[in-house]
Symmetry: C2
Subunit: 436 residues, 2 copies
C-alpha cells in the first residue's frame, strides 16, 4: 500500500500541551500507520503546530496558519478535533461552511467525547454533517476494547442467560481530594464538560449500554460536591501546601432500568484518591440467570484502562472453542455445560489500543465504501459518500463505529442525569435515543 | 443465680411450624438460659402450644388457652411476639388493655422486625407502651452482631478517616426464580411485610445506619417485579413442575445521602438464586478518606448471616492492641500508621448468636434497672420501670437495644422507599427519625 492511499488526517488542537491527544490519537495512528497519515495541523498559534511537528517528527505534516487554508489547501480526508478551546464549535462551523462552498474532499470528522458545546449545537452539527454527506466519528473508543466486545458477545450468545441485575462502581481520581498541579484547567470547568458525569460516567455508561445492547428507560441521579477544595500536589503526589477551589462534582449516584428486560442498574461514581484496598477502582458486575460477568479495571476510566473480564456461565458457542479464549485468556473450569474463564491481555495498552481500533474501523469503512482503496483526493466529488452511504448511527450494534448521533444519545442521557439531580425526580428517558 | 431470678418469658405465636422462631428465639434463650426462662406459650390453637412444649421439652412452660390468662396468671415479665398472624395487632392491643387494667408485672414486650401492621398502628402502639411504662424491644438483632459492632467502633474511632462513599449489594433468594414449596405463604403477601424491601433491605439499611451513626437525608428508589412467576422446588432444589404467581418485589434499587457528611450510598437488593460467582451475596463497601471497610456475607440477610469484616486503614486506638483483633481475627499488615486486618469467627452461629446478644442486653438492662436482680413478680407495682427509666429509643448509640421507636424510624424509611418508587421522586427523609 503506497503512502498515497492513506487517509490524510488534519488535526485541530494538537499541540505539545495536549498530552492526552498525543498519547491517544497520535500513538493510535502510529499503530495503524499504513492506513493514516498525519498531514496537517492547526492551532490558533502556529508556533504550537510547528513545535508538535518538530517534537513528534511528523515529517509529512504541514502547519497551517488558518482553518480555511487547512480545509482548502491541505488535501486532507479527515479532520480530528482534539481542542478543548471555547471556540471549538465556531471553528467547526467555519470548517463546515468552507466544505459546503468548496465541495472539497473532506469525508471524515472525528470528535472527542465529551463534547464541549451545547446539546442544541450538537444536534445542529449532526444535521449539517449528514446533509453534507460527511461521516462523523466520536471517540467513544471503549466500544472497540477487546474486553467490551467480548463481554457483548458473551451476552448476545446467551452465555450468562438473561441479565437480571447490574452494579457499577467507578473511581475518577481527578475529582478527589488532591489535584495534580499540571492538570489542565478545563477538567475543573463545568463548561468544558470533562467532569465526572459527562466524561467518566459518560464513557462507562455508553460501554454498558453497548455491552447489554440496551438504552435506559428510567433513571434517577444524585450529584455531590463534597470536596469543595483540593490540595495541589506535584507529579510525585507531594502536597504543595496550597488549596484550590473545586466546583465540579466529586460523586454521582445513578440508578435506572434498561429498556431491554427492565434490568435494574445501580451505579456509583466517585472522585477521590483510589485508596480502595478491597475492590478495584472500576467494577462492573453483570448478573444473569445462568451466570455472571465481572469487568475490573485499575482506574475508573473504562475507555483508557486495561481491564480484566471474568465469565462464569454456560458454554453456548461451540465454535468459540477453536479461537477462544484469546491468547491470554484462561479457562479455569469447563464442562459441557459450564465454563469459568477470564480474559486479560497483560501487555495490552488500552490507552492507545482502543483508539487504534477505532481508527482501524474507519479505515475498514473507507475501504469498503471505495471498493478498493483510492487516493481520496483524486476522487471526483460525486464519489464522496452520500448521506445514505454514511453510518448515521452505530446504535448498539457490533459493526461500524460510533458517530455524532451516538454522541447525541449519550449527551441527552448525561443532560437527564443532571436534570434528575436538579429537579429531584426519576425521569423517563425512553425516547432520547431517537433521531433527530 | 436461682431460677426465680430469671426473666420469665411468654411467647405469642411460638409453634412447631414457626421454625425460624425456634431457631432464633428459643436457641438464643438457651444460650443465655441463666437469665431467661420460657414460662408460657399462647397459640390460637392450644394444641400447637402443647406440641411445641413437648417438642422442645420446655418443662417450665405452660400452655395458656387465652391471652388474658397468659397475661394475668402466668407471672411472666416479658412477652415475645413471634406470630405472623393477621390478628397480631389486635392481640397486642388486648394485652395492653389487660396490663392497663391489672397493673401486673409485665415489663418487656419484644416484637419482630418487620412489623406486620401499619405505621399509624405502630405509632399508637409505641405511645401506649411508653405511657404504660413498658419497655419495648425490636429484633433488629444485627445491631448486636460482633462484626457490625466492630465496624461501628472502627468508624467511630476514625480508623478509616471520614466516610466518603458506600456501596451495598445484597441477594435475597426467597424472592427469585424458585420458591421452596415449604416456604411460609406470608413471605409472598405484601401485607405481611416480610418482602424484599421491608425485611431484607430493612435489616440491612438499619445495620448500615447503625454502623455509620447516621440516618438518611435524601433517598430515591426503584422497585421491580421482574419475576412474576416462581418455579416450586423441593428441599433439594428440584423442580416440582409447578409455577406459582409472585406479586412481591424481586429487586430494589436504592440510593441516598446520609445526614452525617452528606455521604452517597448506593444500594442494590435482588431476589434470585445466588448464582454469583465473582461476588458474595451480601457486600457492603464503606470507603473513607484513610481506608476502607468491607463486610461480606454468604446470604443477603445481614441479621442472620455469618460475616467477614475487612479493615484497611490507620491504627487509631492503641489500647485496641491488647484485646483486638478478636481471637479469630487476623492482622495481615501492621505498621505504626497502617493496618490491614480481617475479623471472622469461623464457628459463629449468627442466626442464634445475634439474637442471644439481644436477649443478653435485655438481661443487662434489667439488672441495671433493678440494682441487683429481683424476682420481678415480687416487686410492688411502684418499682416497675417508669417511662423515664425506659430506653425510649436506642438511636444509633452503641448502648442498649433497639426499641419500637427505632422500628418506627426504620418503618418510615421503608414507607418512603415505597413512596419514592410510586411517585417517581427523590424524597427528603431528614425528619422521619423524630419522635413521635
Amino acid at each position: 500500500m503506497t503512502q498515497n492511499s492513506s487517509i490524510k488526517v488534519g488535526f485541530v488542537g494538537l499541540n505539545c500541551a495536549n498530552t492526552l491527544a498525543i498519547k491517544t490519537h497520535c500513538q493510535a495512528i502510529l499503530q495503524v500507520s499504513s492506513f493514516f497519515e498525519i498531514s496537517a495541523i492547526y492551532n490558533d498559534n502556529i508556533q504550537e503546530s510547528l513545535d508538535i511537528i518538530d517534537r513528534l517528527s511528523l515529517q509529512d505534516a504541514v502547519a497551517y496558519p488558518s482553518l480555511k487554508q487547512l480545509v482548502s489547501n491541505s488535501g486532507i480526508d479527515m479532520i480530528v478535533f482534539t481542542s478543548n478551546g471555547e471556540q471549538l464549535y465556531d471553528k467547526i462551523m467555519s470548517i463546515l461552511d468552507n466544505i459546503r462552498e468548496e465541495k472539497n474532499q473532506i469525508k471524515y470528522l472525528l470528535f472527542e467525547w465529551s463534547l464541549n458545546f451545547s446539546l442544541t449545537q450538537t444536534e445542529f452539527l449532526a444535521n449539517q454533517t449528514i446533509e453534507l454527506g460527511i461521516q462523523t466519528i466520536i471517540s467513544l473508543q471503549s466500544r472497540k476494547s477487546p474486553y467490551i466486545i467480548r463481554a457483548k458477545e458473551l451476552i448476545e450468545d446467551g452465555s450468562i442467560g438473561n441479565i437480571n441485575s447490574i452494579e457499577v462502581a467507578g473511581n475518577g481520581n481527578w475529582f478527589g481530594y488532591e489535584r495534580l498541579q499540571k492538570s489542565p484547567q478545563f477538567l475543573y470547568e463545568m463548561d468544558a464538560r470533562r467532569d465526572l458525569v459527562s466524561y467518566c460516567f459518560g464513557h462507562t455508561i455508553d460501554a454498558l449500554e453497548y455491552i447489554t445492547g440496551s438504552y435506559f428507560s428510567t433513571i434517577n441521579s444524585m450529584i455531590f460536591n463534597n470536596i469543595p477544595e483540593q490540595v495541589l500536589v506535584d507529579d510525585m503526589g507531594n502536597s504543595l501546601g496550597k488549596k484550590v477551589q473545586k466546583n465540579v462534582p466529586d460523586h454521582l449516584l445513578f440508578q435506572g432500568k434498561l429498556i431491554k428486560g427492565n434490568v435494574p442498574v445501580s451505579c456509583s461514581f466517585k472522585g477521590g484518591k483510589p485508596t480502595k484496598k478491597f475492590t478495584k477502582n472500576l467494577v462492573i458486575d453483570i448478573h444473569g440467570t445462568k451466570g455472571d460477568l465481572k469487568i475490573e479495571g485499575d482506574a475508573g476510566f473504562i475507555e483508557i484502562s486495561n481491564l480484566v473480564l471474568y465469565h462464569s456461565g454456560i458454554k453456548v458457542n461451540i465454535n468459540a472453542d477453536i479461537q477462544d479464549p484469546p491468547p491470554e485468556g484462561q479457562v479455569i473450569y469447563n464442562t459441557d455445560d459450564e465454563v469459568l474463564e477470564f480474559f486479560h491481555y497483560r501487555n495490552y495498552n488500552a490507552l492507545v489500543g482502543n483508539m487504534a481500533k477505532l481508527y482501524q474501523s474507519i479505515a475498514d469503512f473507507n475501504d469498503q465504501k471505495n471498493g478498493k482503496f483510492h487516493d481520496a483526493s483524486l476522487l471526483p466529488i460525486s464519489q464522496k459518500p452520500k448521506a445514505d452511504e454514511l453510518i448515521l448511527i452505530q446504535g448498539l450494534q457490533m459493526d461500524g463505529f460510533p458517530t455524532l448521533l451516538d454522541a447525541l444519545a449519550l449527551y441527552r442521557l448525561v443532560e437527564n442525569v443532571y436534570k434528575s439531580n436538579a429537579v429531584g425526580s426519576t425521569l423517563n428517558v425512553s425516547n432520547i435515543n431517537q433521531y433527530p
